[in-house]
């Protein structure tokens, strides 16, 4: 058990420094861990709440009196879930070789640099003055770019795409996400109307009997 965890963690570390190699191993030799991926994703959601509140006052312009941590958490986590689902739907149609679990693993693993720099930002921003904020922003920016690079590399590898096709598939992913959101909203409004109809029929029956 301990050995397994150690190996999974070592491939997580490897995916940060050598994304192509590590994601290849993860995809074809089963070195990835869905559980680890889920933990990272949930941790990222929690970290966003923490950053909303505890980022230092100088660069934190959030209105803390109207903070809603559940909404922040769900926005981030469901956002990534939406990305994963729509990426899967698009790449299935475009001969992508990766399955849902692979995509989840890639997306979550590639969040690690961003998570690390975000933790640094939350911590360091409490000890800086306005003139030094730029340093913190640069470091966070590096983490974000790194994460994006990992994501691109990972999607390339697991779907066996070239670079251009990966970019195109990501663009289509956003289109698919928009469609899913539209359908979701449509579904909920229709369901709401149906429920309201049933309720009013029920009320009518109760009143007449």
């Amino acid at each position: 058990m301990k050995e397994v965890v150690k190996e999974k963690l070592s491939y997580l570390g490897r995916s940060i420094t050598h994304p192509f190699d590590a994601f290849y191993e993860i995809r074809f030799r089963g070195k990835g861990s869905v559980a680890l991926a889920v933990i990272i994703l949930l941790f990222f959601g929690i970290l966003q709440c923490v950053s909303y509140q505890y980022t230092g006052f100088i660069i934190n312009t959030n209105d803390l009196s109207s903070m809603n941590s559940i909404s922040i958490f769900l926005t981030w986590v469901l956002g990534f879930v939406l990305f994963i689902v729509s990426n899967w739907s698009v790449t299935t149609l475009l001969n992508g070789k990766g399955n849902m679990m692979d995509i989840l693993t890639v997306v979550s693993y590639s969040l690690v640099p961003m998570t690390a720099t975000l933790i640094f930002q939350v911590f360091a921003s409490n000890f800086i003055i306005a003139e030094e904020a730029m340093i913190v922003y640069v470091i966070t920016g590096v983490g974000t770019v790194w994460s994006l690079f990992m994501l691109l590399a990972g999607l390339c590898v697991i779907h066996e795409y070239g670079f251009g096709k990966t970019l195109a598939s990501i663009l289509l992913t956003f289109v698919a996400a928009a469609i899913i959101m539209f359908l979701g909203i449509l579904f909920f409004t229709l369901i709401e109307q149906m429920v309201m109809f049933v309720i009013s029929v029920g009320q009518e029956i109760i009143r007449r009997l």
């Binding site: 006052f57 100088i58 312009t61 209105d63 000890f127 003055i129 306005a130 003139e131």
Partner: protein, 515 residues
């Protein structure tokens, strides 16, 4: 039993009556019984752009109208200006008159025909009488004790003596005037070096700058137009012929100017295409207005509908401690900002009720009172600070002149009257910052949502902390360095040992193979 209950009842009734009286007395204080006082509803914006209710800083004290004119006609009130001795100078464009009042509303002087210092009728070089013709602006130059009247209809500036109202000189169209701007002075200001600044409405070349003798020395002030991205795009693909047909983008005009306590020219524009609305111009004509507040200096920060143009400032009045009042003609509001550009208060409205404005034209300070003119109602309003306003003004004045303790007292008073007041929290913070009590300053800057100054206070706090803990930081640092060096040394030693062992092994193998 019954008696007792009646006693109870009457006691209760008396108590109730008392409570009612007390409750009734409260709003009575807010609006004076003679109706002479009008209490405005004030507000400020917080850091997040939400309008926060606040007591207004001013209330109506009295109005000056045609009733105070002693029979002389009053047709419009277009500009007001005050002198340090408390006189109010008012320009009536339609009647071509300058009227002078004291702070009580008593008329001191009125003139259309300019007289000499001796009281005789003044004549110009052609021998005709000097009459004002649709003047639009007046300015008091305290340093030389002069009145400058922008005699717009006659294309000249008339300079009078402040004490006798006698003619000193006339500034006609300067001979060296370059550019396409016509010499139609509308507003005028004179700085501490006696340079004359003249605003010509709709001039896109800037403010005219004249010497004391009326010689043209240049255009002054940069008012950059806002460039929209779509215009830029169409311009970039248009041919030369198309470009020639397009409307040219001219620099917006300045609409009003005044002088601040340090001798800087402050100007406003209500041209919608201008990128800035309020200017504090340095000697190069650049805008150096401080905008360190939680909202930019634009008056209302958001508009209700697409037809709402936002605040349009027709005039600005500056105190000698840098606090300025802006007069918004679209909603009839007065915005007060301090030297750092923090919104102190906004109040006023348009309407027909007492204290409301129809088309406000001009604003001036009379001590700590505000004088505001309205050219539709033909009124001059004199507003006097409320208890809240007094506290805020005194706080800013004391802070500006470096009297930290007095400023603290005043800002605390303001906070007692309005606990949602970011400007007062930030004001208290600034005073603690100046007294180098960084921790308290940080607390107040946080309350006032003032991140710029919080950063300054934190810088001081951090410096003090580092200084106080210098020994332990140095010890930790030395230990760290020692640890790093130690580990390096150990690593090298080990690698040497390993290398030796490897050599030995190699040698022994070599030896074995040789054998």
């Amino acid at each position: 039993m019954r008696k007792k209950s009646r006693k109870y009842f009457s006691g209760l009734l008396a108590a109730l009556l008392c409570a009612l009286c007390a409750a009734a007395a409260l709003p009575m204080e807010a609006r004076a019984s003679d109706g002479s006082s009008y209490v405005y509803d004030g507000y400020t914006y917080d850091f997040y752009g939400n309008a926060k209710d606040s007591p207004a800083m001013f209330q109506l004290e009295r109005t000056i109208s045609a009733e105070n004119m002693g029979g002389v006609a009053l047709s419009s009130v277009d500009d007001v200006c005050t002198s340090e001795d408390g006189r109010i100078f008012m320009i009536d464009t339609t009647e071509s008159r300058m009227n002078v009042f004291d702070g009580e509303g008593n008329q001191l002087y009125t003139t259309k025909l300019i007289r000499t210092v001796d009281g005789a009728i003044a004549l110009d070089e052609n021998g005709s009488q000097i009459m004002l013709n649709a003047p639009e602006g007046v300015f008091i130059h305290e340093k030389e004790q002069e009145i400058y009247i922008a005699d717009t209809g006659n294309h000249r500036i008339v300079v009078l003596d402040l004490a006798t109202y006698g003619l000193l000189r006339i500034i006609n169209t300067p001979a060296e005037l370059v550019g396409v701007t016509q010499f139609v002075p509308s507003k005028v200001a004179v700085d501490l070096a006696d340079r004359i600044y003249v605003v010509v409405q709709s001039s896109y070349e800037g403010i005219l700058e004249l010497t004391r003798d009326g010689e043209f020395s240049g255009y002054y002030g940069v008012n950059t137009p806002r460039v929209s991205l779509t215009d830029y795009f169409w311009k970039s693909i248009a041919s030369d012929e198309q470009k020639a047909q397009m409307a040219k983008v001219y620099a917006p005009a300045f609409n009003n100017i005044t002088l601040d306590g340090e001798g800087f020219i402050m100007a406003v524009t209500y041209d919608l295409s201008a990128s800035d609305m309020v200017f504090r111009l340095n000697s190069k004509g650049e805008n150096v207005l401080r905008q360190e507040g939680n909202t930019p200096v634009i008056g209302d920060t958001w508009s209700l509908s697409s037809t709402d143009t936002g605040s349009q400032f027709v005039d600005i009045a500056v105190t000698d401690f840098g606090t300025y009042a802006l007069l918004d003609r679209t909603k009839g509001r007065i915005f007060l900002y301090n030297f750092d550009g923090e919104l102190l208060n906004a109040f006023g409205s348009r309407g027909n009720l007492k204290g409301e404005f129809k088309s406000p034209t001009s604003i001036a300070w009379l001590g700590d009172k505000l004088v505001i003119s309205d050219d539709t109602l033909n009124y001059i309003y004199i507003l006097t600070p409320t208890a809240f306003g007094k506290a805020v003004l005194e706080g800013n004045e004391s802070y500006y002149f470096g009297d930290w303790d007095a400023a603290l007292v005043s800002f605390r008073q303001a906070l007692d009257l309005n606990a949602n007041y970011e400007a007062a929290y930030s004001g208290i913070g600034k005073n603690y910052l100046m007294k180098e009590d960084y921790k308290t300053a940080m607390y107040y800057f946080k309350m006032g949502n003032n991140r710029v100054f919080y950063s300054k206070a934190y810088n001081g706090f951090r410096g003090e902390w580092l200084e106080g803990h210098f020994a332990i930081i140095m010890i930790l640092f030395v230990i760290l360095v020692a640890a790093v060096i130690g580990s390096e040394v150990r690593y090298h030693k080990q690698s040497k040992i390993k290398a030796k062992a490897a050599m030995k092994l190699l040698n022994s193998r070599k030896g074995r193979s040789e054998e």
